[in-house]
């Protein structure tokens, strides 16, 4: 067993509505969606027309920037719509399921004999390549790159995050296969990070370099783990895959079929019975949350988040589960005025600042709403962001370089090491209410464009 990497910095925001460890199977929904917006930097070009028959694993569109990257249907059925927004931008492609779940067939290769190129080809054709993310930048990996290593985090430390030991119960074989596939993709090895005292069966997996982490969120973020295992220098490329996606990749190589089933956690203070659901990727939110939301007072609304409260997407009741989400969180909207709120004790709200009283009850679970709790201001407070980013980075200086669009400085100050999720806590605690995650993505896009 390797030594435990302990992170002192970070914050676990304790919220109400943690998922109970019971699994509910959801019946097939009518419609499923695939959205190019779930991925950064993708310009979609359609391959199918409305009305066409597709199977699970049939390509729907590809990325104009890299034509080898295909996005495939999660279920079999008929393409029902290509929804477009402003300037005809594709928002998503929906498929009316035929309920059969027939899949495109792929030959199951012998991983001992097959070449790296053939493995990549199979992942590309099945659409599962989109699960492989690249660092720096947090975009879909370029199949012609050769990464220095592949990193997988076996746990999620975000608020109300699913417990992957529970999610992946009984998936040990798929996981093992998935890791064998990943090993084929790099010469640098596959790193798997587990949480100390919650390793589950993860540490029994073969062919991975195991690391044990201990600490508060964002300790589960793969970017933070990379920083402590083998930090990203300029020019380095590493790949990351979500642990549940490793199992899906494993299933493809075991059965030759695209099986997009996954287990997600339905969480949040407004959920009647927070628990786990077995669903198919791209499922409608309504098919999962239906009848399980607490009755709201008149005038009160809730927010449906695909993902966690720090990094998820506000998809609405009629939205679809986003590709990278492994949980749905439902919290109250905070569109209410609060008289002299800044001067009040605010026992029901949470703050890391000791000018409020959260520090008195560290284990209290909160029902937090979406109010911004203030207005945007210039950066004034210093030394705060540093406490919530467990990396050797000066966040304030990096953010200022981003605001100034100074590419050299961004590079020097560590933009290659972070993506949005790593700075989400900085955004959460910021009393100046700066939109830091948005700033980071805009800066990354600038880096991609300029370099």
């Amino acid at each position: 067993m390797s030594k435990i990497i302990k992170l002192r910095k970070g914050l676990d925001i304790k919220l109400r509505g943690e998922a109970a460890q019971q699994l509910v199977e959801v019946p097939m929904a009518q419609e499923y969606a695939v959205s190019p917006l779930d991925y950064d930097g993708v310009t979609p070009k359609m391959l199918v027309k409305v009305g066409e028959q597709v199977k699970a694993g049939t390509p729907l569109f590809f990325d104009k920037n890299n034509e080898r990257i295909l996005f495939c249907a999660p279920v079999s059925g008929t393409v029902s719509a290509v929804n477009r927004g402003e300037k005809r931008k594709i928002l998503n492609v929906t498929i009316t399921s035929d309920g059969q779940l027939t899949s495109e067939e792929f030959a199951t290769p012998d991983l001992q004999k097959v070449s790296r190129e053939e493995v990549i080809e199979m992942l590309l054709k099945s659409g599962l390549w989109t699960m492989i993310q690249q660092r720096p930048y947090g975009i879909i990996a370029n199949p012609s790159d050769n990464p220095k290593a592949i990193f997988v985090s076996a746990f999620d430390s975000a608020p109300l995050a699913p417990d992957f030991n529970f999610v992946l119960k009984g998936e040990q074989k798929s996981l093992q296969k998935g890791f064998e596939v990943l090993s084929k993709l790099t010469d640098g090895g596959v790193h798997l990070s587990v949480r100390a005292n919650a390793e589950g069966e993860m540490s029994a997996l073969n062919g991975v370099e195991l690391h044990t982490f201990k600490g508060k969120h964002p300790v589960g973020n793969v970017g933070v783990q990379i920083h402590h295992i083998d930090p990203m220098a300029k020019g380095d490329i590493a790949w990351t895959v979500n642990i549940q996606d490793v199992a899906i990749i494993g299933r493809l190589f075991m059965t030759g079929k695209v099986d997009m089933h996954k287990v997600i956690a339905l969480t949040g203070s407004e959920v009647e019975n927070p628990q786990y659901y077995k669903v198919i990727s791209g499922a409608p939110v309504a098919s999962i949350v239906k009848g399980n939301i607490k009755v709201q007072k008149e005038g009160d609304t809730v927010r449906y988040i695909s993902g966690n409260v720090l990094t998820g997407a506000n998809v609405g009741e009629h939205g679809f589960l986003t590709a990278k989400a492994h949980q749905i969180t439902v919290i109250p909207e905070g569109d209410k005025y609060e008289m002299l709120g800044w001067a009040m004790p605010r026992f029901k709200k949470f703050s890391v600042s000791r000018s409020y009283f959260s520090w008195l009850c560290p284990s209290k679970k909160y029902r937090l709403d979406t109010n911004l709790n203030g207005g945007p201001r210039a950066f004034v407070v210093t030394g705060l962001f540093e406490e919530y980013l467990p990396m050797d980075i000066y966040p304030m200086y990096l953010f200022k370089a981003m605001i100034a669009k100074d590419i050299d400085k961004m590079e020097n100050l560590g933009i290659y090491e972070i993506v949005e999720e790593d700075v989400a806590l900085c955004e959460f605690v910021d009393p100046s209410k700066t939109e830091i995650q948005k700033l980071v993505r805009e800066s990354i896009n600038l880096m991609i464009k300029e370099c």
Binding site: M232, A233, T311, V380, T382, N412, F428
Partner: protein, 379 residues
């Protein structure tokens, strides 16, 4: 919710297209003071910490109050009033200065916020109270007004407003008034209230006046008060600077709430004491018999260390930088006091000088981080 309805009713008048839209920022400042807005998160994290700038600044103002109220009492007590009367006299005496400071300062801030179409920053709420506290009580109001205007415009707004300034605005006002009107701002009388009311007579004031502790120390090597008097604040000085005890109560509030950096604060005291001991050992003759801790008790050292050296905008922004800048501020303040006989108060200049130096110190700290990152490439 009658008030909310009223605010909603008059809001269109002050919004874009309304008759009074040129007051939009001002209206927004008052509205958000009354009500935390109903804005929800649009991008990024869906939930946010309930701390904001208003809360942060309120904590600093709360921390200033002990020293402020002691200042009121002492302003009266100095001219031979006692008890509540003394406090009331001092409060009435300082009120015009506080009013001038806020009206002039906030007026300029509101105007600039309007020009930039931004929300008004809360920073001046602290500066506005701090300025009367670091002035001698008999500073003429027009001087205060000039100092405030200079500080806000040239100390802050020309750099881009709150968060962008290089020098602490309150000290910019103080240094402007001091150097522009040196004769009026020094001597013995200016430290005592010159208002004859509530039984205070001109003769009484004349009888009370005398040099500040710091001036006595630098000229004679001793002061006529005990260290305990100086610690409690019963010595002449600027309105809010005299009571080290009250300032330390404020410091406790700032440190507990982590609004001010303990790194900066402790380093300033450490730097001051270190140089104090050094001069006790091998300094000029008149300073050798003065205990090092006297430096903390007299003049503006404590107030500067707790409330101004810790200003996050103008102090160092890296943790390492905070230790260095803090220590040098304290050391420099004592150096100026001891070595420069013409002007005994070193704190103001020390903080401003270190304000100017802080970005450079931070630069080297950040540069070290960049070097560590570049080393990874060669590997």
């Amino acid at each position: 919710m009658g008030l909310r309805k009223l605010v909603d009713k008059i809001k269109p008048t002050f919004s874009e297209g309304g008759k009074l839209s040129f007051l939009a920022s001002t209206f927004d400042a008052f509205e958000t003071f009354l009500y935390v807005p109903n804005t929800t998160t649009k991008s990024g994290a869906h939930i946010r910490d309930c701390n904001d700038m208003k809360r942060t600044m309120s904590v600093v103002i709360l921390a200033l109050l002990p020293a402020f109220f002691f200042g009121c009492y002492w302003a009266g007590a100095q001219v031979d009033l006692t008890g509540f009367t003394a406090g009331w006299y001092g409060f009435v005496r300082i009120l015009p200065m506080v009013a001038v400071s806020y009206i002039v300062g906030l007026g300029i801030e509101f105007a600039y916020a309007q020009i930039r179409k931004e929300e008004v920053n809360e920073g001046y709420l602290v500066t506005g109270l701090l300025i009367p506290m670091i002035m001698p009580i008999s500073t003429p109001l027009w001087m205060v007004a000039l100092g405030v205007a200079f500080a806000v415009i040239f100390g802050k707004e020309v750099f881009g407003g709150t968060g962008m300034n290089i020098f602490n605005p309150a000290l910019t006002a103080r240094v402007f008034v001091f150097f522009a009107f040196t004769p009026q701002m020094s001597g013995e009388k200016v430290w005592y209230s010159d208002w004859t009311m509530m039984g205070v007579t001109a003769e009484g004031i004349d009888a009370a006046t005398g040099a500040t502790a710091l001036e006595q120390l630098s000229t004679t090597g001793e002061m006529k008060w005990s260290a305990m008097d100086a610690f409690l604040g019963f010595i002449p000085g600027s309105f809010g600077e005299t009571s080290t005890l009250c300032i330390l109560i404020g410091a406790a509030i700032l440190l507990f709430t982590k609004v001010a950096s303990w790194r900066t604060m402790f380093s300033v005291f450490a730097g001051g004491l270190a140089l104090g001991y050094l001069f006790q050992w091998c300094g000029p003759e008149e300073w050798r018999n003065i205990p090092a801790y006297y430096h903390i008790l007299v003049g503006g050292f404590a107030l500067g260390a707790v409330f101004m050296a810790t200003d996050p905008v103008t102090s160092a922004q890296t943790n390492t930088g905070k230790y260095i800048v803090g220590f040098m501020t304290g050391a420099l303040a004592v150096l100026v006091r001891v070595v420069n006989p013409a002007y005994p108060e070193g704190m103001m200049l020390a903080i401003l000088f270190m304000n100017a130096l802080a970005p450079t110190i931070d630069y080297f700290v950040v540069e070290a981080n960049i070097k560590r990152r570049k080393k990874l490439i060669k590997k």
